[in-house]
């Protein structure tokens, strides 16, 4: 079955997942790489052209070898130097990784890049694209042979909830028995919705934001009935912030 994630279970029983890159985003990365190769070749042809003043024969030979080497070597060089990334992949935050989560080896990079020859048949990576589309791990033939996959590797930094939760008065905490019941009644999925809506609040259209927080606040108000003094005058967004604070911070 085709999935968008690659799940790897470690011997310790821990499962981690990697988001697989689809054929379209890989195609765009490939297009960027082709542009880079063309730029390199333009620069190279200018340099070789200057050499042509001394020996035209040598310049033609160098250009032929250079064109071949850049076409074949571009992917190998960058994926090896940048641990599975070319310029196109880096820009789109993609990365080639081992299908079992192991360290990417040089020979895997060579094999997957040499097999571009067959993936590009009959033209414009049709075979590779089709295989990628049909394969459960979005692998082209080169990836299958080399045991690699291309994943989406978004920039990940340490999570910071300080700015979201700290330093605000929480009226719900004045009623610890009700706060405990709230924690008990909320599922992880509901807690996640509340947290995500707060983390992404600035991305919403103002009207949609008001409607969203109103709906969510109503939903969570129904979970536990708090007395009026704890909720009166508290805006929907602040109420939701209080709920998230109660759910994700068990103790003060």
């Amino acid at each position: 079955m085709k999935t968008s994630t690659l799940n790897i279970r470690t011997p310790e029983g821990i499962v981690f997942s990697q988001n697989l890159a689809g054929p379209v985003i890989r195609c765009i990365a490939c297009f960027i790489d082709q542009l880079c190769i063309q730029v390199v070749m333009i620069v190279f042809s200018v340099i070789v052209g200057l050499l042509g003043v001394v020996s035209f024969n040598l310049a033609v030979a160098l250009y032929a070898i250079g064109y071949f080497a850049v076409n074949i070597g571009y992917g190998i060089f960058f994926e090896w130097s940048w641990r599975g990334q070319t310029i196109g992949k880096k820009l789109l935050r993609l990365r080639v990784v081992d299908v079992e989560g192991m360290r990417l080896q040089f020979n895997q990079i060579v094999v997957r890049n040499l097999l571009r020859f067959v993936d590009s048949l009959p033209a414009f990576y049709f075979t590779g694209g089709l295989t990628c589309w049909l394969n459960s791990k979005c692998q082209r033939l080169g990836d299958i042979a080399a045991n690699t996959v291309v994943i989406r590797a978004p920039k990940i930094s340490e999570p910071d909830l300080e700015q979201l939760l700290a330093g605000k008065f929480n009226s719900l905490r004045q009623l610890p028995h009700l706060a405990a019941r709230l924690r008990q009644n909320i599922t992880p999925a509901e807690a996640d919705i509340a947290l995500q809506s707060l983390l992404r609040r600035d991305e919403f259209d103002p009207v949609a934001r008001v409607e969203l927080f109103s709906g969510l606040a109503d939903h969570f108000r129904g979970k536990v009935e708090f007395p009026a003094e704890a909720t009166d005058g508290v805006a929907d967004e602040q109420f939701l912030r209080n709920v998230v604070d109660v759910v994700f911070r068990a103790k003060n």
Binding site: I8, T10, P11, E12, G13, I14, F16, Q18, S55, F56, N57, L58, V60, A61, L62, A64, I65, Y67, F68, I72, V97, V99, G101, M102, R103, L104, Q105, F106, N107, Q108, V110, V111, L114, L115, R116, F117, V118, L141, A145, A146, N147, A153, I156, E158, P159, L161, E162, A166, R183, I186, P188, A191, D192, Q196, L199, V247, F248, R249, A250, K251
Partner: protein, 330 residues
């Protein structure tokens, strides 16, 4: 139960940051060996982070923290559980005199098969041109081979000037790149369960056999040997080695008689494929030089006997090298 995320992050952060720093260092300096203490610390941080990941996955659906921990565990997992040889400095001489010939010999049966397919193609091409000379344009659709062999030999031998003067280097480069592309293609077509590789090898054999019989029938055997041998004794084995690699890839895909999963078979084969194709590429560089700088010169510039002798010496050296280099004395 939902974890106290703030406390969870506060407690885990020093460990996660420590692991991240160690990973950055390991990735930046892959050749550096960790001391026992550092390795123990690394393992301890990995286990702690993996446990935190399990905790956050079970008790909270907070995706940002989970993604961060997953990325750390994924990076560390590859470093800790990898059993294959870690990348080291490259030793070209060691590779050339040991790894490459040893790899070739380890898969000699695939080479023999590659050779047999090419010979079958040669027999077919030779027989086709012998029985139906009119089929020449179909069998070898290359303009420079269309000419009558006797006429070509007469032209080549009467040429006074240096035909390739001013073009030798570029001609050589063209040959190298073209032949290397053909070799890589022959390898890559192994992914068609070997069908593409077999077709490539057979077709190469057909052309070779047709050209050979065409010249032999015209009584130009000596010219043929003098023309083809200096570069052909290297170039043809290089294509055969690429075919060997392609067939190995096909065997790994098909996995007949093997109980190991396809992924494992391909994983085990991958270094050998790289070695074989790089070896074939080196042979083609040499063949390209020889074809441009020696093969295209005929009598009276260079005696055929000298060119044939040169080809024989190359062939003997190549056979000796592939058969004996890097052999372990028992």
């Amino acid at each position: 139960m939902i974890v106290d995320l703030q406390k969870f992050i506060a407690n885990g952060r020093p460990h996660w940051s420590g692991l991240e720093k160690m990973l950055d260092r390991i990735e930046a300096e892959p050749n550096e060996q960790l001391s026992l203490g550092q390795a123990q610390k690394f393992h301890q941080l990995y286990e702690r982070t993996a446990a935190d990941l399990a905790k956050v996955t079970t008790f909270s659906s907070e995706p940002e923290t989970r993604r961060y921990l997953e990325s750390l565990v994924a990076r560390a997992y590859g470093e800790i559980h990898e059993t294959r040889e870690k990348r080291r400095k490259i030793f070209p001489l060691q590779w050339f005199f040991h790894t490459w010939p040893q790899t070739f010999r380890r898969h000699i049966r695939a080479f023999y098969l590659s050779l047999a397919i090419t010979i079958a193609g040669c027999i077919f091409g030779g027989a086709a041109i012998a029985f139906d000379p009119e089929a020449k344009p179909v069998l070898m659709p290359f303009s420079h081979l269309m000419q009558d062999p006797a006429k070509r030999v007469a032209e080549e031998e009467s040429a006074t000037g240096n035909r390739l003067a001013g073009h030798k280097t570029s001609f050589s480069a063209e040959l190298m790149t073209h032949n290397t592309q053909v070799s890589i293609f022959t390898l890559a077509l192994g992914m068609t369960w070997g069908i593409g590789t077999i077709i490539m090898l057979f077709y190469n054999g057909v052309i070779l056999g047709a050209v050979a019989v065409d010249y032999i029938r015209a009584g130009e055997t000596k010219f043929l040997l003098g023309w083809l041998m200096p570069h052909g004794v290297i170039e043809i084995p290089a294509i055969l080695i690429a075919g060997q690699a392609g067939l190995l890839l096909a065997f790994a895909l098909i996995g007949r008689g093997s109980r190991t999963p396809m992924r494992t078979r391909l994983r085990e084969l991958s270094p050998d494929l790289t070695t074989l194709i790089i070896g074939a590429g080196l042979m083609l560089v040499w063949a390209g030089f020889i074809e441009a700088f020696l093969s295209q010169y005929h009598e009276p510039v260079i005696p055929y006997s000298a060119k044939i002798a040169f080809g024989f010496i190359e062939l003997i050296l190549l056979c000796f090298f592939l058969a004996k280099a890097g052999a372990v004395k028992k």
